[in-house]
Subunit: 220 residues, 2 copies
DNA sequence: TAGTCTGCTGAACATGCGTTCAGTCGAACC
DNA sequence: GGTTCGACTGAACGCATGTTCAGCAGACTA
């Protein structure tokens, strides 16, 4: 009888919600290695209470994942319309102060490889497929031979680059996701746009050759 | 007086080298959280000896980093010529059996964000700049307004995507880097080639607008 | 008032970690 | 042979962690 209750809509009164929020924040800022004691202290609570409400640290994380997933779904329902290029998604996502811990948590999750990360990526890829379809229909985007593969590739490379950049030199303030994304785009937006509008290779040779050899489809 | 000696050229006789190699392998396969005891057991040695040779676990890792960096420089000196597109680099790198732990270690290092990762990325970006220059000169590659930024972007997004893919669903055999890269390219090579030769956006509008607003050059 | 139940505490436990250290072994030197 | 020195062992230390548990306080019910 300890499933996720619909408590704490707006006020973070209950200790349970306080613990959950503290955990999300700590996990986002310093990773999942954060100790239960630290989270408890943040929430102004004893370590024992954490185990009382969630059965274990993994239980805590599971509930955080679940809560974040619900939050993300809600945010996405609000932000139905996104520019065709799809990159401003980050800007919008990170700019809202409320969302900062959410994105931070998701990025940590990606570094860690949990199920939340898989789910989140799947959502983003689905979205990207949708935007690509609209973009192609509107004539704004070049069609692909495999829209799903392209959407996945674009999503993974964008997120992967951002993640890698963050890991290589971590931001001074891990909470300022907007600043992080801004810093990332400051150096990456130009080459990205160049690549998207002018391409990289001058000849079709490599692509055509690959397409010829393609029928030997090997596995998934 | 405990700097890196030029010992153990070919034979892994000395316990010191055995520990180092075991550490590299464990670090590559299961990350830097591996315990000293496990590494010692792999090398058929007591935990104490690890501390005797390297002063601490960090000392061990530092020496691994240094050793890997030297190895990478050597490998690169051998592989001077790489295709213009630059992606086959992984294939070549990963295909050599000898290099598998090297790439694995480097990838782990990137997940972790150590100085080795920074150095390695810097090398790759430098290389990419060189290849791009050659490619542009030969007319095979579209020139960029900022070759350094493009090289960095392409490197980070390729590596980031590979890393993210690996984190999201880890390979059954983390040692089989060639298989991992093959699996990655199986789904990503087509969209990558499409993007490189046909682009993504049909209109120059977004790029041109960005270029107009650019003169407020912020940073490098 | 007595009983009970729930949120909650904080000391204690068990475990695994990096690290230390007293001491053994064997070879090299005088 | 005696001495010294470096490689090496393995038990032990100190610490941080996740987790447990006996018990407390206060608000309900009867």
């Amino acid at each position: 009888m300890r499933s996720v209750e619909p408590e704490a809509q707006a006020a973070d009164r209950t200790a349970r919600a306080r613990i959950r929020d503290a955990a999300i924040d700590r996990f986002a800022v310093e990773g999942f290695g954060t100790s239960v004691r630290t989270i408890a202290a943040d929430a102004g609570v004893s370590p024992g209470l954490v185990m009382h409400h969630f059965r274990s640290k993994d239980g805590l994380r599971a509930e955080c994942d679940q809560y974040l997933l619900a939050t993300i779904r809600r945010l996405k329902r609000e932000n139905v319309r996104i520019a065709a290029a799809g990159q401003t998604f980050f800007q919008r996502f990170a700019s809202a102060e409320e969302n900062a811990p959410v994105l931070g948590y998701v990025l940590r999750s990606m570094q860690d490889g949990g199920p939340l990360a898989r789910e989140f990526i799947a959502h983003m890829v689905d979205d990207a497929v949708g935007y690509a379809r609209e973009g192609v229909a509107a004539g704004a985007l070049v069609p692909s031979r495999d829209e799903a593969a392209r959407a996945r590739y674009l999503t993974l490379s964008s997120l992967g680059a951002l993640l890698l950049e963050m890991t290589l030199d971590p931001p001074s303030d891990p909470r300022d996701l907007a600043g992080i994304v801004r810093r990332y785009l400051a150096t990456s937006y130009l080459p990205m746009l160049e690549l998207f509008t002018e391409g990289y290779l001058t000849s079709r040779r490599v692509l055509d050759e690959y397409l010829l050899h393609l029928p030997d489809t090997e596995g998934s």
